[in-house]
Symmetry: C2
Amino acid sequence: MTLDDLRQDIDRVDEVLVRLLNERARCVCEIGRLKKEQGIEIYQPDREKEVLRHVRAVGGEGPLGPDAIGRLFERIIDEARRLERRVVHEQG
Amino acid sequence: MTLDDLRQDIDRVDEVLVRLLNERARCVCEIGRLKKEQGIEIYQPDREKEVLRHVRAVGGEGPLGPDAIGRLFERIIDEARRLERRVVHEQG
């Protein structure tokens, strides 16, 4: 494979990553609405820890390794928290 | 859908995200090896900008929006760069 082939592969993977990140974000917004409805605290640190444990466990064998996977998901969770708060504020 | 259903959906999405992030990382390692072989500079800021432009364009319509997508991919690129350098060092 050439450099160009590999870059095209990365572009295709990135398109799916973006789609999944947005799909995940839709779930997060829905969770925000439910928590608000049910009067549940938005920030749930135990659930965030559980998410990190899960992705480190499933991703540990790949080239990124559990630490890089953990760092990336810390950011994904961070953006999710930001979005969830926005959804809840707009609603209320 | 209940909170638990949505969290299960997120866990499934996260598993695919982890798989794709590792697949992307494999392409990045291969690119690192090719660049080394062909004597090409590892750090290619123009390509990184192109990747960011691409993901912002394809993800702009979703709930995350182009800025959050851009921030997340800055981190993905950052981890990729770290991995690529490690691969090239180990090889050389």
